[in-house]
Amino acid sequence: MTSTSAPLYEVRNVSKQYGAVVALDNVSMALYPGEVVGLVGDNGAGKSTLVKCLSGAHQPTSGTVLLDGVERHWKSPHDAIEAGIETLYQDSGLAPHLSVSANVFLGREVLKPGILGKLGFLAQKSMDATAYAELERVGIAVPSSRRSVAQLSGGQRQAVAIGRAVTWARKVIILDEPTNHLGARQAGEVLQVIRAAKAEGLGVIFISHTLPHVLDVTDRVVVLRLGKVVRDAPTSEFSADTLLGTITGLIDT
């Protein structure tokens, strides 16, 4: 259901070099509201670098990043987060020693009203309640939002991490390998959350090695190889075989 409206988030001719190594070479891609774009490629194809440029963790060497048609220069992940872009990094999105609600509110803590808030005191009860309600709203339930993340199962952690991203994202969600290490049922539930985010009109960038998941949930697929976009087409044009062939280069583009 690719929209014909203006792109929500876009990179144009972005390159990224680390010294002599060219990680991204003149990459352009666009994401529309309510669209799920799959970003695939072999190891070293440039997926992680592109994610870092999109999330504000790294700055491109050249090229432009546009949000709602306006050129942006993220100096840190904080800038991108403020602009409504949430990123879920592979395997390391949460602080395990903190509670579920502390993780959901990490970096956006709610302070107590009045003078106590000015002194930096946290409104913990209100955050606990809100975190529980918000996670439930996006389709994730945890036993208690006061429980520490370390006490959750791998699937629950991933759910909290995704729920956190969906809760806060106002425009774009970037999910780096969100179904990694998950069982079939749990992965299916993650895909369900992605569909829900899409239904809310968010743009989703879905990075995965698990091609059936990509074919299942995305509207469009962007294939990277050696830092270049080699294919950018609606998901309907791919089969599992052709997608794999495009990634590995067996199918000539």
């Binding site: 999330s55 963790a57 840190s76 992940p77 904080h78 987060i81 403020e82 990123t87 990094y89 390391s92 999105g93 949460l94 602080a95 395990p96 020693h97 903190l98 502390a102 993780n103 990490l106 970096g107 956006r108 803590e109 302070l111 002194l119 930096g120 005191f121 946290l122 913990q124 529980y132 439930e136 709203r137 996006v138 389709g139 994730i140 339930a141 945890v142 036993p143 208690s144 520490s148 370390a150 006490q151 959750l152 199962s153 791998g154 699937g155 629950q156 952690r157 991933q158 759910a159 998950l182 049922r185 749990q186 992965a187 539930e189 993650v190 369900q192 959350v193 829900a196 239904a199």
Partner: protein, 343 residues
């Protein structure tokens, strides 16, 4: 969205299991265990010599506890953030010595006790803040790991206080300053009461305020903290400066206790701080630690010191007792971690 998709284990917003887990929590709670150990120690020492259970001895223990808990609190913030600060003991010496020189000068010029002590305090705090800032710069900008960075400042601060003094204690400050260390409220003296207030402030900062939340987040997963938009470097700067400032307060405390600033004051006390923090249940890998645990850890260490003197056992045994306590603390932690993993 109305469907409830739950990856992972079963969902139970359960309040039923809550009550039982709370009871289990109390039993396996390190703070409660520490309190039991501490009370048992008091009982044992009292049984061996009645004099131990007296306001006088409690006063001695608390005077000992003051500086130890201050640097242990400093270490708690740093350890929770995933780092370590080896310079806390050296800051005691350097801040005490520099403040002692300033106070000696003011006293020679006929200044009164209170203005002199106030200026001395400000100077000490400034020394602590500078060492803390240096640690932060070495960690954030020079990219040294905290162990190496603070080992460097330990050497520099320790060396500087010896260079400044030639190794001798510096006296000649307000002549009656030592009397401030005399207990007047039961076993509590004014410096100890101030330390109690600082303990409460540290508890609020670490457990109830954003400062503490960020400290835990960085120690737990600094990548996640950075990804969540937290300015990790700026926060670590705050943590190390706070550590330096708390250590310099310990330096001032020892000045009031000894009536002089000695360059050897605090030498090696970083090990006491780390021991108190570890006994208190903190993990040197970061993200774990509590002010209550640290307070009890420091109390246990200093109770052992005085207790062994009172019962007439060579205080070298303290090292053995501390070693056993650390081993037990680490074992309890491992037990709890396994428990958590299987939960």
């Amino acid at each position: 969205m109305s469907t409830t998709a739950t990856p992972g284990a079963t969902v139970e917003p359960g309040s039923k299991s809550h009550g039982r887990s709370r009871l289990l929590g109390i039993v396996s709670n390190q703070q409660v265990l520490l309190l039991i150990v501490w009370l048992a120690m008091i009982g044992l020492f009292t049984a061996l010599n009645r004099i131990f259970f007296s306001v006088d001895v409690a006063g001695n223990v608390l005077l000992d506890w003051g500086p130890v808990v201050l640097i242990a609190l400093a270490e708690t913030f740093v350890v929770v953030s995933g780092g370590i600060d080896l310079s806390v003991g050296a800051v005691i010496g350097l801040s005490g010595v520099v403040a002692a020189y300033v106070m000696q000068d003011m006293t020679t010029k006929g200044q009164g006790q209170w203005p002199t002590l106030l200026v001395g305090l400000v100077v000490a705090l400034a020394v602590g803040a500078i060492v803390g800032l240096t640690n932060a710069l070495l960690i954030n900008k020079a990219r040294l790991v905290p162990f190496i960075a603070t080992l460097a400042t330990l050497g520099a601060a320790g060396g500087l206080s010896i260079v400044l003094t030639g190794g001798s204690p510096i006296g000649g400050g307000p002549p009656n300053a030592i009397e401030l260390s005399v207990p007047w409220f039961g076993p509590f003296s004014t410096p100890v009461l101030i330390v109690v207030v600082i303990v409460v402030l540290c508890w609020l900062a670490l457990h109830k305020a954003r400062l503490g939340r960020y400290t835990y987040a960085i120690g737990s997963n600094s990548f996640a903290a950075r990804a969540a938009g937290i300015n990790v470097q700026r926060h670590l700067t705050k943590v190390y400066v706070l550590s330096g400032v708390l250590s310099s307060l310990a330096g001032m405390f020892l000045y009031l206790r000894l009536g002089s600033g000695a360059p050897t004051s605090g030498a090696g006390m970083e090990l006491d701080a780390i021991a108190a923090v570890v006994i208190g249940g903190a993990a040197l890998s970061g993200g774990v630690g509590k002010v209550t645990g640290t307070v009890l850890g420091a109390l246990i260490l200093t109770t052992v010191t005085s207790g062994l003197i009172i019962i007439g056992v060579a205080p070298n045994w303290k090292q053995v007792v501390v070693a056993v306590l650390i081993a037990v603390a680490v074992a309890v932690q491992g037990f709890r971690r396994n428990e958590g993993a299987s939960a």
